[in-house]
């Protein structure tokens, strides 16, 4: 078991030395008091999320842990390069899938995995997007198992969320623990909104003016990530629009303002493909804009992320990522992939069925920790139920070994104890370059021994510190 503070041997690692001292000095009740202060702050500013299927808890706070997670500059260097490489490959792959399809013809990714995939969008075939960038905002989930190795757990290439927590967590830490910051040089993350805006402006359609109009499209106040949408719109200084605020006329998108219609050039959309345009996708969607796809295809408006990027972050496609990186960039992947059994292949399926109690089984299109089986934690009934599911619909599942995720000291009821963590850094791809703010969202599984960090399943968050130099 690798602990990010105490390593595998129990000796404090250099990046954590000061924190370890500090934790030894600070009285427990002070930590507890600060923790409650943080909770009060989060509730006041309304940073909540909704849990689907739980009417009692329509708005809940994500627990915030006051002990930061620290990455040394050298560790961040590895991550930074690996993330850049990964996202470049993802963009090249999506362009190829909707274009020349070389990777399919080379037999590296199977055709049916692409064409029979519900997230594949035939509307995007042969469609040009500005500067060949499809995934402008990616949230790559990273875990580690020892001092050297970082694994990618998931590539979120559709509408990844969580960046508001990265920003708010830092803000609250700066308020609550100024003395701790005086002992460390922590790289700032507060410039993320500026970097995001620069990215979004850089991909405006060629017909846009020098100062393109950017908007953020949200499904509305009842969406679980609504707080983040409004938070980001505010920091970006752009309008937060819902589908009904936009209208398409002659393949141009306008927003309804108090001064009449105003043209929109770039839409940072946090609405899924399915709901974007009822004329093309789900006809029952009231969240989208009728005619949006037509305007998009005419090149009069840019969507970030592009339509159809799900074809890259599908969990079955995930298993091909190392090959995808090699195919497009001719480089060895810097970040590892977790070994993955694709249940669509019969040999893999029988292995999974035989070893299910040691594996994590995930739905190919699942997210948020829903519909997932953790073999070692499951009872007989659950295992049997999953075996049946696997047999009836093998394509829908992948399986992975249970990784010994790293832990990080965390405030829990019995004091300070190690808990498993992951990391979601955010990668921005614009016309000019790729931007990655040093840091990300660290999620922590608050239950002892639990590996599930999702906020919908009782996970919390931590501030992530990347040390400067």
């Amino acid at each position: 078991m690798f602990d990010e503070m105490r390593g595998s041997e129990g000796t404090v690692r250099p990046a954590y030395a000061e924190l370890s001292h500090w934790l030894g000095e600070v009285p427990p009740d002070v930590l507890d008091f600060r923790r409650r202060e943080a909770e009060h702050f989060f509730r006041r500013i309304g940073i909540t999320f909704a849990v689907y299927g739980d009417p009692e808890a329509q708005e809940r706070l994500i627990p915030f842990d006051v002990i930061p997670r620290i990455l040394a500059a050298s560790e961040w260097q590895i991550l930074h390069r690996g993330l850049e490489q990964r996202v470049k490959a993802i963009n090249a792959y999506i362009k190829d899938v909707y274009g020349r399809r070389e990777i399919l013809r080379a037999g590296i990714v199977p055709e049916d995995l692409v064409f029979q995939n519900p997230v594949f969008r035939p509307e995007m075939n042969g469609q040009k997007v500005p500067h060949d960038i499809y995934v402008h905002v990616a949230g790559i989930d990273i875990v580690r198992v020892d001092a050297e190795d970082f694994y990618v757990l998931e590539d979120n290439a559709r509408t990844p969320s969580g960046v508001s927590y990265m920003l708010e967590n830092r803000e609250i830490m700066l308020r609550l623990f100024p003395e701790l910051f005086s002992r460390y040089r922590v790289a700032p993350v507060e410039n993320y909104p500026d970097e995001l805006l620069a990215t979004l402006k850089s991909i405006a359609p060629p017909t846009a003016s020098a100062e393109p109009t950017v908007v953020l499209l949200t499904p509305g106040v009842y969406n679980s990530a609504y707080y983040e949408h409004s938070f980001l719109a505010d920091k970006l200084g752009v309008e937060l629009v819902e589908g009904r605020d936009l209208v398409a006329k002659s393949d141009i998108i306008y927003m309804r303002t108090t001064e009449g219609f105003k043209r929109v050039d770039v839409i940072y959309r946090r609405v899924d493909d399915d709901f974007l345009d009822p004329l093309v996708f789900r006809p029952d969607s009231s969240l989208g804009v009728p005619g949006l796809m037509s305007a998009y295809q005419a090149g009069n408006v840019t969507l970030a992320n592009a339509v159809g990027t799900g074809i890259a972050d599908d969990k079955a496609v995930y298993s091909y990522m190392p090959d995808i990186v090699k195919f497009y960039l001719g480089e060895e992947p810097l970040l590892k992939n977790v070994p993955t059994w694709r249940c669509r292949e019969s040999e893999h399926l029988s292995y999974v069925l035989d070893n299910i109690e040691d594996l994590v089984v995930k739905e190919v299109h699942g997210s948020g920790g829903y519909g997932m089986l953790i073999g070692p934690k499951a009872d007989k009934n659950l295992l049997a139920a999953f075996r049946a599911k696997l047999k009836s619909d093998p394509k829908n599942f992948i399986a992975q070994p249970t990784l010994a995720l790293s832990t990080c000291p965390t405030c829990v009821e019995e004091g300070i104890a190690p808990r498993h963590v992951d990391l979601r850094p955010f990668v921005l791809s614009g016309r000019d370059r790729i931007r990655i703010v040093p840091g990300g969202l660290t999620r922590v599984a608050l239950k002892k021994g639990s590996l599930v960090v999702n906020s919908s399943q009782g996970g919390g968050t931590k501030d992530t510190w990347v040390l400067d130099g």
Binding site: R44, G46, Y226, L240, R244, R256, T257, T258, E259
Partner: protein
């Protein structure tokens, strides 16, 4: 600015104003019912409270009798009455969440804080004392919201739209009180000056927090036509119809000049203001107070529609 944002700001302000008004009505009704019957007559004050709140038909669809319990529940805590104090805060907060970016931290804090506090009141207070505290709290929340808007908002269209909401709602509320109680103001009534009317008039003034103001303006005993004058025509009285329209015209003018365009809303507001400016209280009483108020409420609604058509959709 997005039309929807303007719409949310406008309604946010209206709902907060409405919650305060409901709290005032309830407060006043409690005071009246606390008086011996000979002072207030035999009329059912609770029924009158429902009428003043403008939801008599909805109330009697759900309740057979208007009494302390049913009216308090309906006006303050009901989840079925869309204009209960609880729902006003709920709706205000939904509106506020949709326009987080257009609000200052202080305004959001007030609305969100009020909403959180409201959860603590659960199904309502257990005693009259507690209820009195609740009503005070509602009024304080509204004052805090108004104050934080006044002190922290940029003076741009967002501010002007929220002000329009306040004054349209306030004008409607004042007119409604006068309408329900208009029979009390008719000077032809025999019992003018009797204790019954005195307390009723005082109650009207109190429900728009104008009792002290009345004495300062007129330095006289409470007289019905002066009450009418104060609440309709005196523009130094912040809840009077005249003052509301002074503010509506000003804020619409600011919008008009910022956007470089005037429209129906501006014309309608100026027309109503002119009518109020040219009216004398004696003439209003002669030609019929009820008719005058009826016309005003209609005009006020029309202005609401004109604002919506011009800016909010």
């Amino acid at each position: 600015m997005l039309s929807r944002t303007a719409d949310n700001l406008y309604w946010l302000a209206r709902y907060v104003e409405r919650a305060e008004y409901l709290a005032r009505i309830l407060d006043t009704t409690y005071r009246l019912t606390a008086l011996p019957l000979t002072y207030v007559g035999t009329s059912n004050e609770w029924e009158s409270a429902v009428a003043t709140a403008g939801c008599a038909s909805a109330f009697f669809a759900a309740n057979s009798e208007a009494n302390e319990e049913t009216v308090t529940e309906f006006l303050a805590f009901s989840t079925d009455n869309p204009s209960s104090i609880r729902n006003c805060f709920e709706t205000a907060r939904v509106n506020a969440r949709s326009v987080r970016t257009a609000l200052t931290i202080e305004m959001w804090d007030t609305i969100n804080g009020a909403w959180l506090e409201l959860q603590k009141w659960g199904n309502g207070p257990r005693s009259r004392e507690e209820f009195a505290r609740f009503l005070r709290w509602v009024q304080e929340s509204s004052l805090r919201f108004d104050g934080s808007a006044y002190r922290t908002m940029l003076r741009n269209d967002a501010y002007w739209f929220s002000r329009l909401g306040v004054f349209i709602e306030r004008a409607d509320n004042t007119a409604r009180i006068l309408d329900v109680k208009y029979h009390l103001l008719l000077p032809a009534d025999e019992r003018v000056g009797g204790p019954l009317d005195y307390f009723q008039w005082a109650a009207i003034l109190r429900s728009v927090s104008a009792l002290t103001a009345y004495h300062w303006v007129y330095r006289e005993n409470v007289k019905p036509w002066l009450v009418g004058d104060l609440l309709m025509l005196r523009d130094e009285m912040p809840r009077s119809l005249a003052s509301c329209y002074e503010n509506l015209v000003q804020n619409l003018d600011r919008l008009g000049s910022a956007y470089g365009r005037q429209g129906n809303a501006q014309r309608q507001a100026r027309a109503v203001r002119a009518r109020l400016q040219n009216s004398r209280i004696e003439e209003i009483f002669q030609t019929g107070l009820h008719e005058f108020i009826d016309d005003f409420v209609e005009d006020n609604n029309q202005l609401g529609t004109a604002i919506a058509q011009q800016y909010l959709m």
